[in-house]
């Protein structure tokens, strides 16, 4: 089994550095469809699906390995080792921002910078720390996932449906972006929302951009300011955006913030 097959890796463009794009919990690498092409003009860009998500090889999903974010971080370092040319710039959304941080801390020599979109080191409130959720909220999410298979089925046949109003999607599978094996989705949700990697933040030596949305229920601004305070070399940029996916809803302001950060780091 190759890393390319396991994580459905797609490489585009060329340039002096390699930019990796890691999607968060919920959907797959299609989340980068508006942002990644902007950078494939300047860099080698690498998009992929986390093991268990999207079109990754589900047979590679090992419930023991992926019972912690470190299992995913191992995969990231394998992807970076195989597909990186020159310095690596890691763009991670949501939980993948933290997975990228763990990968970076394990192999810091490979990374030039981290770009975190809507990151949170801990989703659960803990004393003075405001993560935004309590344990019961996460249980609510798990039962919501149990009720919503989004077209996933164990006997799934690739049904291709046209979406006339979006011709660019006509050859893709409807609902497939967020379609995940329910058992995997549930475990990934638990691993994501019950993770607490606050203790690792001070170990991240690389320059880091925290790209925060002004109104994001998943990663409130308080979480962004907390991370900015604790990370050794971070820039906090808050963009006007409602929701958790600025790379989809505000791609140009997201790119502007990333460009400014990259320029300050000499890219």
């Amino acid at each position: 089994m190759t890393v390319q097959h396991r994580n459905n890796v797609h490489v585009e463009g060329d340039g002096p550095a390699t930019m990796f794009f890691a999607h968060g919990f919920g959907c797959d690498q299609n989340m980068w469809r508006l942002l990644a092409p902007v950078y494939s003009q300047r860099f080698r860009t690498v998009r992929f699906d986390l093991t268990g998500s999207g079109a990754s090889d589900l047979t590679a999903y090992d419930p023991v390995k992926y019972d912690s974010l470190h299992g995913y971080a191992e995969d990231i370092n394998e992807i970076v080792a195989e597909f990186g040319r020159g310095p690596s710039l890691f763009v991670g959304h949501s939980v993948s921002a933290m997975i990228g941080m763990l990968a970076n801390v394990a192999k810091p020599e490979r990374y030039a910078a981290q770009i975190m979109i809507g990151p949170s080191p801990c989703y659960i409130n803990d004393g003075a720390y405001v993560g935004g959720f309590n344990r019961g909220d996460i249980d609510g999410l798990l039962s919501t996932l149990e009720s919503n298979y989004l077209g996933w089925s164990s006997t799934m046949a690739p049904v291709i449906m046209g979406t006339p109003e979006r011709p660019d999607l006509s050859m893709e599978l409807t609902n497939s972006f967020c379609r995940t094996d329910p058992a995997i989705a549930k475990q990934f949700a638990r691993v994501t929302f019950l993770s607490d990697v606050r203790a690792t933040l001070p170990e991240l030596a690389a320059p880091t951009l925290i790209l925060q949305c002004s109104d994001d229920v998943i990663a409130p601004v308080a979480v962004g300011t907390y991370m900015h305070r604790v990370l050794p070399r971070s820039t906090l940029t808050i963009i006007e955006n409602v929701g958790h996916c600025p790379h989809l809803s505000s791609p140009s302001s997201s790119a502007a913030a990333i460009d400014a950060f990259l320029a300050s780091e000499g890219f």
């Binding site: 299609n30 989340m31 949501s94 609510g140 999607l169 972006f177 994001d216 996916c245 809803s249």
Partner: protein
Amino acid sequence: MFCDWLGYAPADLAGTRRLQDLLSMGGRIFHQTHWAPLLRMQGSVSEVKLELVHADGTRLPMVLNAVRRPHAGGYVHDIAAFVARDRDRYEQELLLSRKRLEELHAVTRDRAQFAEQMIGIVSHDLRNPLGTIRIAAEVLAGVGDKTCDRVAPRIVRAVERANRLISELLDFAQARVGSGLAVSIAPVDVHRAAAQIVDDLQGAHPTRRLVHQATGPGDCELDENRLSQLIGNLVGNAVAYGAAATPITVVTAVTDDAVAVSVHNLGAPIPPAIIGGIFEPMTRGTTEHSQARSVGLGLYIVREIAKAHGGRASVTSTADAGTTFTVAMPRRRAVTEPAPP
């Protein structure tokens, strides 16, 4: 209507509350991680079930469908919602049943593993004292005492029977509660192998005449040790239940893609009442037979050996034609095994 469902006046919601503000916290996460990206990427979301929070704080399950369409320079989302209380209750029941089944399954699996381990341990631990008894009996046989000469061979035969029983118990445990009978399939000349097995069995049953007949080419792929066990069990039964002073015929017949091994004896037919379940464990041909040599696992193991080779075991029994047990198996190992990683 929507406002009534949730206990609000229209003015409480219109222009002030967003859909996600009405969701439970778990629903809000789902909204952000699934709903919103889907709506942006494919322009629609269908059949999503979420809990909305009523003005009084209770939860109302709803199924929501949404379409995103351009409107006045921006986008609007048309949402169709319906109450899904019944579906929710039904789902809760299903989830509960699944959980119960998973728990039951875990208990059953643990018990089966325990039983298998017990049989394994007991069988293994019984072999050691039996080995000692056998050696002692052989020592007694060499003493030259008349009583010893008479008793020692009986002890040896009893030990052999006990060892056979232990092997059967181990196979039974493996086939019944474990991962299935283990076979190691390799190329073998089935006619030559069967001839040797029949020859050995003739030595063990000197009072009966054993005949081996072979048809077709001999080269096959099967487990030679299991073949020996299979023929041994069937011949043992034929000796025990067949008419004395009549021959027992072992046939190995090979065609292009199949190999059939059959054992025939004359004598009283198997009673119709038990022939249907003859391959089930703990079934015996007759109850009064004092020479019955096992607890009734022999035919069960024959069937499991057939299964492990991708074949099947069958029996025909009449007063005139006698009794024939046949095991039919593919001549070559099926290529359905998963490819190596």
